[in-house]
Assembly symmetry: C2
Homo-oligomer: 351 residues x 2
Amino acid sequence: MKQIELLWQEVRDLSLGNASSVRRLDSPPAPLEFLRDFVSPNKPCLVSGAATAHWPATALWRDRAHLARALASSSVTVHLTPDGRADSLVPIDDSSASPSPSPPPPPLCFASAHAERVPFAEALDMISRSSRESSFVAYAQQQNDCFRSEYGPLARDCDEHVPWASKALGSLPEAVNLWIGNHFSETSFHKDHYENLYAVVTGEKHFVLLPPTDVHRMYIKDYPAAQYSYIKETGEFKLEVEEPIKYVPWCSVNPYPSPENLESEMAKFPLYFNGPKPIECTVKAGEILYLPSMWFHHVKQIPDDTGLTIAVNYWYDMQFDMKYAYFNFLQSIEYQPIHDYTGTEGESEDL
Amino acid sequence: MKQIELLWQEVRDLSLGNASSVRRLDSPPAPLEFLRDFVSPNKPCLVSGAATAHWPATALWRDRAHLARALASSSVTVHLTPDGRADSLVPIDDSSASPSPSPPPPPLCFASAHAERVPFAEALDMISRSSRESSFVAYAQQQNDCFRSEYGPLARDCDEHVPWASKALGSLPEAVNLWIGNHFSETSFHKDHYENLYAVVTGEKHFVLLPPTDVHRMYIKDYPAAQYSYIKETGEFKLEVEEPIKYVPWCSVNPYPSPENLESEMAKFPLYFNGPKPIECTVKAGEILYLPSMWFHHVKQIPDDTGLTIAVNYWYDMQFDMKYAYFNFLQSIEYQPIHDYTGTEGESEDL
């Protein structure tokens, strides 16, 4: 259905622009302008400098001693994976398969990280220690309003909400989350049913973004849910598919395939790799990204000179309105054109 | 494609509601609330009483003498049709066809009214005189910013713009139009690429409304453009298809079929007649209807006790954004299910 590809382009031509960068604002927008120019058209923006300059966190959180003191009595949830890619697609462990010269690639599952609560100082240590030599990568990425619960003692170091966003959206945040990661922490492509104000306090976060109208380029499929468990004594991870089997719809595309996989990934996901260039945005310390509801995002981090990236995000309820209904309609249409590199094109459509 | 019918319902369930009435506000909304609660979700509202109470027009325009004095030196455009239905579908005049016992219904064309400029007093007289006995129905419905041009001397009787709408939308109106009609004036289903604030000064206007997501229920087709011309000497109309032939896409549905046509209309346009009930809204003197961009609307009038309905509408530029791109995508999908009254359903789809 070529109309779907026309839609990708028309949204860009009319509204989002064709640049692969996000509109930058030198200072926080007035609520009405924010609503009119960004929220209503579902368009991201990056607010620089003045966004969080007044937060005590901006100065204080680069000092681990301050963090450790504030959270001396707190236990927090830390997430462990072999490689830093939590909530992502990994091959189902299948060591019972008979060896063969050219085994087919193993099926993928949606793997959740091993999560445990530890005293904060230990969590910080685990995150800092994660490296190619350690047996795990730790990431503090609990997304359940943790900033207002687990990290409560830090709350006074940031704004409780983003005032110009709260005024524009007509509500306070539904959830505020704290993220502490390292160089390896990576979040695979997904979308959230929230309007998201994402503030980086120290380090940098790199986002790859696609609008909701590009949904077919994400090749969302159902994957069996699986769970990592970390065995401390051996330093090994076990990956077990949940039983009874439960399916999680997830984006299949990795925007950073390794060189050896590039050709096969491009062949599997041509709508992604051959379509309009995704938008990329690096959010630096002190900046706030407005990540509009339903936008697909992939996140990597560049740590500060202490090896950490710390961010706070504010999730506001989104309007479930005509745009949302249109999205559901679009997603309900199957579209899997058969492309090949020589440029011949066929279509396999199923309505 | 049943997903289209699910879309109609989901927009209502999530956002517009299932009532067949428009949300009523007792006083003008604050700009940010107007933007958030109505413009952004593309949702109509009716602002009562206080909307235009401060306009001199509210008191003055029921007095024809005032209108005549103000426009004593003005010529204005008046539109004449046989029956008051300007810009609508009428049978192509085909008197050369051989008579037959059961002739097929003649094809339809999109007929524009006969337009002429006359002194205002004469225009007002023609509009008042229109009746079933007169040979024409006159309607002042020039939609080219006429309030600020032809009707300039009346401009001080109304606001130049709708302040809370201008603030919300970030601009002044692109056009302001004056409408003077009578009991017979009727505007067939169409949509406008504007955010519309529609203020009734005297009399009442009755709107039948459907959201853009219901586009398939309008059975938009291409019709040959035609032009009425009125021959004063004989009091007759001639209807001529334009040459070279030019096609106008127009909504095929009449929401008020005559009793003798009801069954055949329901058979021709089942998606309209069998789908969710349209929204209806009577805008009384002193009230302002926010008619969101791209909404299909059909308009009738109930005159005041002098036989006239007078209204002013403010057209603001709309945002050509993601919603607009989604609409174009939706409209590009052909959907013509074959229904019949016994409830059996087939689908003729063409993608």
